[in-house]
């Protein structure tokens, strides 16, 4: 814990992430204005006392939209990484436990198959097939997260399984399930959390990308990616319109990446210590 | 040739090595024996100028009259490999995995400007043959991973002696090897010492291995000298309780006939070391005096640092 407080990238990442999460939570109960409300008379206004970050081409309050957009981005990240983390970790651990078996081969080849497709293209394909929308976007991003976590979990599990304390647990009479839960999970969890943090940043980026293309979050639900797309038309007249969502995306990706890096540095030396 | 005078090493407030003095002549081998945390490896690193930056050394280390502690990094670099060389416990980590053995041996010769690269290449083959690797021409083109542990250690030795250094430091060079291979490597080191007349610091946790090679032996414990003297005298009549305990803890014969007398307690952490004699907590003759003050050296058949030497003679 003391090491965590001394670590700059962890500190910056954690505080930035905390701010973003806090803003998203606040948006649940309060935003400066209704993010969906259009105002014909106050279109494309620069920031002022009432509209802190100005308004867009329909006169909607940018600050409010960004706040709700943060909520959507985090939700996508949470669910997509959750899907990847859960299924990926379980598959990876099982593949490792039965290393070299048919199960291992099938799981890992199937995941290679998913891995081999260009993620964004396939996500577009899925969303075109099953219809655009937040839910399908989350599922698509989640699907591509599974192999990432599975590989990490398999590698980490294989490494832990070679340690003598796993043999000692078998000699104690523990079955496969209890060895995985009691000994493997606590020992790989740190690495997996680091990975989750990095994947979280990527998921936010992916959601922004899909929404930018118009197949992610659907209007009137605000999304950073779509705000960026909308702003394109007015880039010359109102550059701030693009700069604010762009910064939101960049800052949150940075925040979770720094958090992940920091966690890695904090967790790694403890692993080396054995 | 090598004179170490009051060498002390500290890590912040922690004393990793208390002021230590010894000397080494050409052709002589000083064995340094100790357990984990005894300070034996950092002594070697200090001489090579390879201490981690967080550690500070005091005192002086004179190699042929030149104080190594006063030299800057570039002058040390010129000496390393040329005047002093080191071999390690695990040659795999000390050898470059993507460079052939021959090139690694030749590198030092070229680097120190002793030879052209063609001459160095053929000298490398000669050295490979000298350390007893079969088919030297072929081995020169091998990579470290293609050799066995013992062969890699031989390659390391070839590298270390390539520039005919005055001082060779061997830090646990046989601890990772099988006994039969260990015996071969020890024999090789003995031969090379006779041939080149270099001085050797031989560091090991194993008193028996040290006794095969060292003319004199220094016993370290918890970063302080316990006893130093001619190896034969020290083994035949150890004066310090720690040396005696160490010898008694080595199994001889059978449990039924000659039961072991272990040293009680466990090896202390460096930062928790007491002020006085570091061994006093585990010592059977330890008294209040031992906790308070470090003993002065007592010179007799060996030099021992102990307050309670039973009138100066061994047990």
């Amino acid at each position: 814990m003391r090491r965590a407080l001394r670590h700059p990238s962890f500190l910056i990442g954690a505080s930035l992430s905390a701010v973003i999460v806090f803003i998203a939570l606040v948006s649940l109960v309060w935003t400066p204005h209704d993010p969906g409300q259009m105002r014909i008379l106050s279109r494309l206004k620069p920031p002022d006392a009432s509209f802190w970050l100005g308004t867009d081409q329909f006169g909607r309050d940018i600050a409010s939209m960004l706040m709700v957009g943060a909520r959507n981005a985090l939700l996508v990240g949470l669910v997509a990484v959750g899907i990847g983390f859960t299924f990926g970790s379980v598959l990876g651990m099982l593949a490792a436990r039965f290393e070299g078996s048919l199960l291992d081969d099938v799981v890992m080849r199937a995941l290679d198959f998913v891995f081999a497709f260009p993620a964004v293209l396939t996500a577009i394909l899925i969303l075109t097939l099953f219809g655009p929308g937040l839910v399908n976007a989350v599922l698509a991003i989640g699907l591509f997260n599974i192999p990432v976590f599975a590989r990490q979990a398999r590698g980490a599990t294989l490494q832990v399984m070679t340690r003598d304390f796993i043999r000692a647990a078998r000699l104690a009479g523990c079955g496969t399930a209890s060895i995985l839960v009691r000994h493997v999970v606590p020992n790989i969890l740190g690495l997996m959390i680091v990975q989750a943090s990095t994947q979280f940043a990527l998921a936010i980026l992916a959601e922004a990308g899909l929404s930018y293309l118009g197949i992610g979050t659907q209007p009137p639900n605000p999304s950073w990616g779509r705000m960026l797309n909308d702003a394109q038309t007015f880039l010359a007249r109102a550059p701030l319109l693009a700069i604010f969502p762009g910064m939101a995306i960049a800052l949150s990706v940075l925040a979770f990446n720094l958090l992940g890096d920091g966690l890695r540095d904090i967790i790694d030396p403890r692993l080396k210590e054995r | 040739m090598l004179v170490v005078d009051n060498l002390g090493i500290s890590l912040g407030q922690t004393r990793a090595l208390r002021p230590l003095s010894f000397s080494l002549d050409a052709g002589e081998t000083l064995g340094i024996v100790g357990e984990s945390g005894s300070g034996k490896s950092i002594t070697a690193l200090a001489i090579m100028g390879l201490l981690p930056e967080v550690m500070q050394a005091s005192g002086s280390i004179l190699l042929k009259g030149e104080n190594l502690l006063a030299l800057d990094e570039s002058s040390l670099c010129a000496l390393r490999g040329r005047r002093m060389a080191m071999i390690f416990q695990e040659p795999m980590t000390a050898l470059n995995p993507v460079m052939t053995i021959g090139r690694q041996i030749a590198e030092g010769l070229v680097l120190h400007g002793l030879m052209t690269s063609e001459a160095a290449a053929s000298e490398a083959v000669r050295l490979i043959e000298r350390v007893g690797l079969p088919e030297p021409e072929l081995r020169a083109h091998s990579y470290p991973h293609e050799l066995s542990g013992g062969q890699r250690q031989r390659a390391m030795i070839a590298m270390a002696i390539s520039c005919r250094p005055a001082l060779l430091i061997a830090d646990e060079p046989t601890s990772a090897l099988d006994v039969t291979v260990q015996a071969e490597i020890l024999a090789l080191l003995r031969e090379i010492r006779e041939e080149t007349g270099m001085g050797m610091l031989f560091i090991s946790h194993d008193l028996a291995v040290i006794s095969k090679l060292a003319n004199r032996t220094l016993v370290l414990y918890g970063g302080a000298a316990m006893e130093m003297g001619e190896t034969q005298a020290l083994l035949a009549a150890p004066r310090h309780p720690y040396t005696r305990g160490l010898i008694a803890a080595i199994p001889r014969g059978n449990a039924h006939t000659t039961p072991l007398r272990p040293i009680r307690g466990h090896v202390p952490e460096l930062h928790g070391l007491p002020d006085g004699c570091p061994f006093h907590g585990r010592c059977l003759t330890g008294t209040d005096l031992c906790r308070r003050s470090s003993p002065a050296p007592d010179v007799a058949s060996t030099t021992a640092w102990c307050h309670h030497l039973d009138g100066g003679q061994g047990a």
Partner: protein
């Protein structure tokens, strides 16, 4: 005297990683045709250098691996090749201690929980207080206090960790203990303590012991009988004193000659 452990014509090999999907699988023969027996209450020393197959043998003896051929019998019953569920009754009777006391304890588990693990499987009926009493008694027996229970492995020295590993192995009162290089990673001054502790506990618990080591001095010190292994085969077998004073096989002679002595 009857045998607690019988090993009959044991063979084991490991697959090497394949060069490609279609390449023929290659194997390393680790153990080849081993047969021996261990008398109840005795110590059998197994000596060999790296690659002799002695660690593979240890894992075969405690049924962590299944041999390709041959049998391991515990008090006459075959334990090799059994499913995990059929093996469970034997697990509490056959235990092992490992070379690396840093690796054999789960770094994320408190000492108390580590020692409780085999006890929980072997005696599920034991209540919390009873379990605690047993663990504390065992910790004290190996020279550690009750305070150790709530601490983590990294808070102990190598020798203390090996004591904890011994406590864990003996908590279910096994009859057979396989020790694979249990003191090789320890400081010299601590090795003797652990060897003496093992000898004391052997008498107290009525253990039979397989003691595997590369160190001839230690094997000679402990063992009643000794097996010398090389390349997965038995080179020589005999009563300890006789084998060390009058070795018959050339390899045994080489080993003894190479052993550094004071």
């Amino acid at each position: 005297m009857s045998a607690i452990l019988d090993v009959v014509d044991l063979h084991h090999r490991y697959p090497l990683p394949r060069d490609g999907i279609f390449a023929q699988r290659q194997y390393v023969q680790a153990v080849e045709g081993l047969s021996f027996a261990l008398e109840e209450g005795k110590i059998l020393g197994i000596v060999g250098e790296s690659g002799s197959g002695k660690s593979t043998l240890a894992r075969l003896l405690v049924a962590l691996e299944t041999p390709q051929r041959g049998e391991v019998r515990f008090r006459g019953e075959r334990i090799s090749g059994l499913r995990e569920a059929r093996l469970r009754p034997f697990r509490r009777q056959i235990q092992m201690i490992f070379q690396d006391p840093f690796g054999s304890l789960d770094p994320r588990m408190r000492i108390g929980a580590s020692i409780a693990e085999p006890l929980g499987v072997a005696e599920p009926g034991l209540d919390v207080a009873g379990r605690r009493r047993r663990i504390v008694a065992m910790l004290e027996r190996v020279g550690l206090g009750e305070g150790a229970m709530m601490r983590y492995p990294h808070q102990f020295s190598g020798g203390q960790r090996q004591r904890i590993a011994i406590a864990r192995a003996l908590i279910t009162h096994p009859k057979l203990l396989v020790a694979d290089e249990p003191v090789s990673a320890l400081d010299v001054s601590v090795q003797a303590q652990i060897l003496n502790l093992l000898l004391d506990l052997k008498l107290e618990f009525g253990l039979s012991l397989v003691f595997i080591s590369h160190d001839l001095g230690i094997v000679r010190y402990l063992s009643d009988r000794v097996i010398v292994m090389q390349h997965g085969k038995v080179v020589e077998e005999g009563e300890s004193e006789a084998l060390f004073s009058r070795p018959a096989a050339a390899y045994t002679k080489t080993l003894i000659a190479a052993m550094p002595r004071l």
